[in-house]
Symmetry: C2
């Protein structure tokens, strides 16, 4: 066995051509059986050996010598966490397409970590699914390469990285959603509009904020940076940050929350402060989760078609698994403002 | 090929002993390959042929001649529907155990039907999972037999049939929960207590109602049948049935909803009627879904440890797959009253 540091021979591999298992075995100084184990996600291989083999695959690519075995009739969803109704919508959307194609849906939840833990990808390789949908999760480059080198299609749903994705992806028109939400509040007469954002490193969250800013700018209403608070898409952030906003000398008359969870927190803070929604404070959410019809009052929110987005991602996986190129590499489904009872004109107080 | 009606030869099979594939093939008048396809859930077999073979397996049992292949590292959850946070709790609980055992979790949702559609069980047989957890779903006897004849363990979670289950099961102490919820309201001074139940054919729902009645009876408070309304565990039922209750000549001062969804509907109806919770109307729910902390006011509810129940079911599946007998055939985890802000003494109005 060759350790990673000793594997100078890696650089001797022929350039520009992917390697066969036999070539990888020779270069790594291990048996063909060992390379085959790594390729198939078996875990009974020493970590250092696995690293050397993965490094060779990463650098040179790996060429199957026989036609690959048919993948298992599984489609995998990997989520950073399964806490709210967001995940339910995604699972149901994937299930709709999976049923048509007689695929079973595997759901992996990463305990709140955005990067799947060690072991997750090996298990996926061993299962040889038809494809993987990564929801709001950061797969590492290594993990993505491990999937692609084995010919397992990966589609990103609601991705949070750069817009130019190496992998096909499905998103929603987040910027438009932020614009529409804020225009609605401006049309009602609001000028002091608070914003509770999602995490700053998440592009969908930035896009919603930028849409808000564009609406303010186009309406010639100055945007007060004090009114923008950075949240983490949790109910507790909506509560905490709305408390902050309401303590301002000139508090907002409306709040645009970047997801429905945060909007629930805004409701909570309003109740605490004895403010009525929408009479004293208007609220707009984002996502349109099933629960929002039932809040008191029902929430005005930007509908993100999560169910359809998940179904579109599943369709892409199926196409890729058949060797087809999806019609589009990047699909953005439209968001839509759903006006319910949580928005009204500002009161005299505002 | 022999059709089901012609298959008189079925009755000629040796009694009291399970059949080999070869014996089944002979009795059914089909090839061994065909029987093997049926056993393994392949669908390229004429429906009538499949029926004859399944009937033979059902009557006589099927005896593997070689040691069965290792099952796939999958654990399947089948739910009647994935609509609310209930499903999330179950998936997370199973995932906790699945991760330990490096099993992937397959989630099948049955589009609201309580009986899996045609085709579901064949897909499961083809996947050969380590086991199946049926959540609040009625598998048909045929489907259950198809699983057990292939040695695929089945565990029922929150089962809705008779208490004496053919299969191992995990539940919660529903009767105790109903008793505790109502005792809490009685202790606060309520005498007119409305109940919104779950469906009448669901035992967990009956048990909650019976617990309520026992508490009333033990306290010497007459139970008014008019105050009991039959719901279907949906938010909309809570709303509609509370409207009915509030229209009564002598309306209740408190409502015990048989799940948290219905309790949300009670909140909605109270808001409509201009009643404050808990000042004018007390509300107790059942389940303690994550959302209930965030209702306004936070909901007093009976905690059903769904996460732990699902984990216990998964542990049972793993034990059964190892050929072990689970320590208990039926486990009921304790429910617990969580007092929050939705309950108080009745106002003078009541």
């Amino acid at each position: 066995m060759t350790s990673a540091s000793e594997a100078a021979s890696i650089d001797d591999a022929p350039r520009g051509e992917s390697l066969t298992i036999a070539q990888i075995a020779r270069l790594a100084g291990v048996s063909i059986a060992t390379v085959s184990k790594v390729v198939n996600g078996r875990i009974d291989v020493a970590p250092e050996t696995r690293e050397v083999v993965e490094e060779l695959i990463r650098r040179h690519g790996y060429r199957r010598q026989k036609r690959p075995a048919k993948p298992a009739p599984l489609i995998e969803i990997v989520l950073h966490e399964l806490q709210g109704l967001y995940g339910i919508e995604v699972i149901n959307g994937v299930n709709r397409v999976a049923r048509e194609h007689r695929l079973a849906v595997v759901v992996s939840e990463l305990e709140g970590h955005h990067t799947p833990g060690r072991g997750w990808v090996e298990d996926v390789l061993a299962r040889r699914p038809t494809g993987v949908i990564s929801v709001f999760s950061y797969l590492t480059e290594e993990q993505r390469t491990q999937l692609s080198s084995r010919g397992i299609p990966l589609v990103l749903l609601d991705p949070t990285g750069e817009p130019a994705h190496e992998f096909p992806s499905v998103g929603a028109t987040n910027w438009n959603g932020g614009l529409t939400a804020t225009r609605h509040l401006l049309d009602l007469g609001h000028r002091r509009i608070g914003v509770i954002t999602g995490p700053e490193h998440i592009l969908s969250s930035r896009a919603r904020l930028d849409g808000h800013r564009a609406a303010m700018d186009l309406a010639g209403v100055p945007a007060d940076p004090e009114l923008v608070r950075v949240g983490d898409f949790q109910i507790a952030d909506g509560l905490r940050l709305t408390r902050e906003l309401l303590r301002l000398e000139d508090p907002p008359t409306a709040v645009f929350a970047s997801n429905d969870g945060e909007a629930i927190g805004v409701y909570q803070a309003a109740a605490e402060a004895g403010l009525r929604i929408p009479e004293d404070l208007s609220v707009v959410g984002f996502d349109d989760l099933p629960m929002t019809e039932w809040t008191i009052p029902p929430l005005t929110t930007v509908r993100q078609p999560l169910h359809d987005m998940a179904a579109a991602a599943a369709e892409m996986v199926v196409a890729l698994a058949r060797g087809e190129t999806p019609a589009q590499h990047r699909v953005e489904l439209a968001t839509e403002l759903i006006v319910r009872g949580s928005t009204a004109g500002p009161s005299a107080r505002g």
